[in-house]
């Protein structure tokens, strides 16, 4: 490796990137490849592949962001996951360490949900300021970078079929539903210096062999190898500072030894995922920006979206062994379309998802009543079970939002984030539709019992610093650049305007590649 970069705290020529996950890690590497210097401040530590054990709860405890957070509002999390609204990693690589790897593009209409469906009462739906055609070339780059199976960009084959997939494929055939092998950011053949997947099955605990794409062992080391990117783990950013002109000038953080530091910056990219990113902007309020940095629109923290989710697990007469092989091997896509005739707008995917015994025992019926014969009998049938995770478009609602708790503080003395969410009626109708479709699907292959699970702690988090054409409607422009603070960028899923019927990460990465290209141009031409 070339010399690892080390930048001075007073070096005000660096781009400071906050967070090293799917968004932040990608921006860092893309900038480095284009010759732009950066410092990545990451709250979590560095892990190695040897840290990844095939054990659900052990890894949950090791990887998760467990700083204090509060769930509020009408969703069941307020009661059943009161301190864990979302399931996010704290570590170099962020949630790309535990993501499953499903990598689907948004559909063209999903960038234009307002023009498609008109105004929806109780929701704050808007069109994206970019179209599918704008992002398409970057989807291709993202697929190539991440090694997505079955795409034109990589030319790699699908992952092999496992029993869990076979059951769903046959069920889909019997019910006339559309089935696909999941396009995965998991190597089906050795590629990019990483091995092919061995079907270990613990993708959401960190891939032990690195077959699954994660910025932890792809973008980050590649960025470091250029000698232009310095990663500082165990560095929690507290506040973004600005100068008299209202431009971001540096960030305050606590370093690995607990000392407070100020890193000067030419440009700041915020990529802390959709709870921490708006929280940081709100915590960066100043005399000039009393409602929080970049918040003249009042939209920072608002329009928090998860996805309309839930799970359905069926018990079958004979073994399935869902735990053998990739966590998400396939999908049912028939309901992804926007078809208001079903009683709701937007669509959803049904993603085949295996859970281990430990997670299933907690998620089968979350809350204090999840015990008794119904639970133990289901778990006794573990090997005869199969399941899906519902991933449906969640509507942006202004009152679903991240706010700062008035009195509670975290270990750094910062106000704790409160995550308030209540399902829109559209969400409820969609979820019930999905439960009904799943019942049809599973009965066709002989299910003897069905368990409908409510949403898990939110794994997809989006929308809290959204893009908009006009400065009054959102936080950032079509490049993810703040309308108010020109050298401040949002580089994660919080820039999403709407959430689509598919997982977010491919789109986060595509936007990050596109944003980095734009930033590099602005740096080279001295505009920023």
């Amino acid at each position: 490796m070339t010399n690892v970069a080390k930048f001075d705290l007073d070096d005000n020529d660096v781009v400071v990137i906050i967070g090293s996950g799917a968004g932040g890690g990608t921006v860092a590497n893309e900038l480095a490849q284009k010759g732009v210097k950066s410092v990545v401040l990451e709250a979590g530590k560095r892990f190695t592949l040897e840290d990844f054990k095939n054990s659900e709860w052990e890894m949950f405890m090791k990887l998760s962001w467990l700083d204090k957070r509060i769930s509020a509002g009408g969703w069941h999390h307020a009661k059943n996951h009161s301190g864990l609204p979302a399931w996010i990693v704290k570590g170099v690589g962020g949630s790309s360490i535990h993501w499953a790897g499903v990598s689907l593009r948004f559909k063209p209409h999903e960038f234009k949900m307002k023009s498609t469906n008109g105004v929806i009462p109780g929701a704050n739906v808007a069109d994206w300021p970019i179209s599918y055609d704008d992002i398409a070339p970057y989807y291709e780059k993202a697929e190539d970078k991440m090694g997505v199976t079955g795409t034109k960009a990589t030319g790699t084959p699908d992952l092999p079929e496992n029993s869990h997939t076979k059951l769903h494929r046959i069920a889909a055939e019997r019910t006339g539903m559309t089935f696909i092998n999941a396009p995965m950011a998991i190597n089906s053949v050795a590629r990019d210096g990483r091995p092919a997947c061995q079907q270990i099955g613990f993708c959401m605990q960190g891939c032990r062999i690195g077959a699954k794409w994660s910025t932890m062992y792809t973008e980050i080391p590649k960025a470091e190898a250029t000698g232009l990117c310095e990663i500082r783990p165990n560095s929690m950013v507290l506040k973004i500072e600005h100068d008299a002109d209202g431009r971001a000038s540096g960030v305050h953080y606590v370093d690995e030894n607990g000392n407070k530091k100020l890193q000067k910056a030419r440009i700041v990219c915020v990529a802390g995922n959709s709870i921490e990113s708006p929280r940081l902007l709100l915590n960066s309020a100043s005399k000039k920006f009393p409602d929080g940095l970049a918040n003249s629109s009042g939209q920072v923290g608002r329009n928090y979206m998860g996805h309309v989710t839930g799970g359905v697990y069926g018990v079958f007469p004979k073994p399935v062994n869902m735990h053998r092989g990739t966590a998400v091997p396939s999908l049912i896509t028939s309901e992804q379309r926007n078809d208001p005739d079903r009683g709701f707008v937007a669509g959803y995917s049904l993603e085949v998802l295996s859970l281990g015994l430990g997670f299933l025992s907690a998620f089968l019926k979350p809350g204090t009543s999840g015990w008794g014969r119904e639970i133990s009998e289901a778990l006794e049938n573990y090997k005869n079970m199969a399941g899906v995770w519902i991933c449906g478009e969640d509507l942006p609602v202004e009152s679903n939002r991240i706010t700062l708790h008035p009195t509670e503080k975290d270990q750094h003395g910062l106000p704790v984030p409160v995550v308030t969410k209540t399902d829109h009626n559209n969400d409820l109708i969609m979820r019930n539709h999905a439960y009904a479709q799943m019942a049809k699907l599973y009965k066709s292959v002989g299910a003897t019992k069905l368990h409908n699970l409510p949403a898990y702690p939110s794994s997809h988090n989006m929308g809290t610093n959204r893009m908009s054409e006009k400065a009054s409607d959102g936080v950032v422009n079509k490049w993810g650049q703040s309308h108010d603070v020109p050298n401040l960028f949002i580089s994660d899923g919080s820039q999403f305007v709407t959430s689509a019927a598919v997982n977010p990460t491919l789109t986060i990465v595509a936007l990050a590649i596109r944003q980095a290209e734009h930033i590099a141009k602005l740096v080279k031409t001295n505009v920023l």
Binding site: N54, S55, E56, W57, F60, M61, L66, K79, N80, H81, S82, G83, L84, P160, E161, N162, S163, T165, K166, L167, I170, E173, C197, Q198, Q199, I200, G201, F202, R208, I209, P317, K318, P319, V320, N321, H323, R324, G325, G356, L357, G358, L360, S361, A362, P366, G367, T368, S369, G370, W371, G372, R373, I375, S376, L379, E380, Y382, K383, N384, P457
Partner: protein, 176 residues
């Protein structure tokens, strides 16, 4: 102690102390538990340990009943917990018995009819005592690699090379 007082202190007790296995954030964040409060005053006298142990065993088998699981597995999980959390568990058992005597005229272990016991347990499921016992059982049974095989779960697989050559697609009871 008169009845009115006892039911007030019971309510306070069952809804007061935080729950979760010692040091296990997971239990509180994932199962959802009563939140902590300062008020831990108790007027209960401690039951003797043999009785605690027997009562916990009955309770454990009502919470996650498995014919295939020998008593010794349940017993170890709850006894370990009782050793770690002497006061919470001791007081919890005393309360459970009191409730059981009030409702059914006998201590919990003597209640022979399962639905009666379940009804009593349901009435305290939101409280910290029940939450702790349940949390310990959930992790002790379902996150216990020594018991995985009873459920047909195979646990850690990377050291065996995953499933790529080990029964990845064995399902043979459905045909295209």
């Amino acid at each position: 102690m008169n009845n009115k007082n006892s039911s007030i202190s019971r309510r306070k007790f069952l809804g007061s102390v935080g729950c979760g296995v010692a040091g296990t954030v997971v239990a509180t964040t994932m199962i959802g538990c009563a939140t902590a409060s300062e008020d831990k005053t108790s007027v209960i006298s401690m039951p003797e340990s043999g009785h605690i142990s027997q009562t916990l065993l009955v309770m454990a088998k009502d919470i996650y009943p498995h014919e295939m699981l020998e008593n010794k597995y349940y017993q170890k999980i709850v006894d370990d917990l009782a050793n770690q959390e002497k006061t919470l568990i001791g007081e919890g058992i005393a309360m459970l018995d009191q409730l059981s005597v009030e409702k059914l005229g006998q201590p919990f272990v003597k209640v022979g009819y399962e639905p009666d016991r379940i009804r009593i347990l349901r009435s305290i499921e939101d409280g910290p005592f029940f939450g702790k016992v349940r949390g310990a059982l959930m992790f002790g049974i379902y996150d216990n690699k020594d018991l995985f095989h009873l459920f047909g779960y195979q646990g850690s697989s990377w050291e065996k090379g995953g499933y790529i050559d080990r029964g990845l697609n064995e399902l043979d009871w459905l045909n295209d």
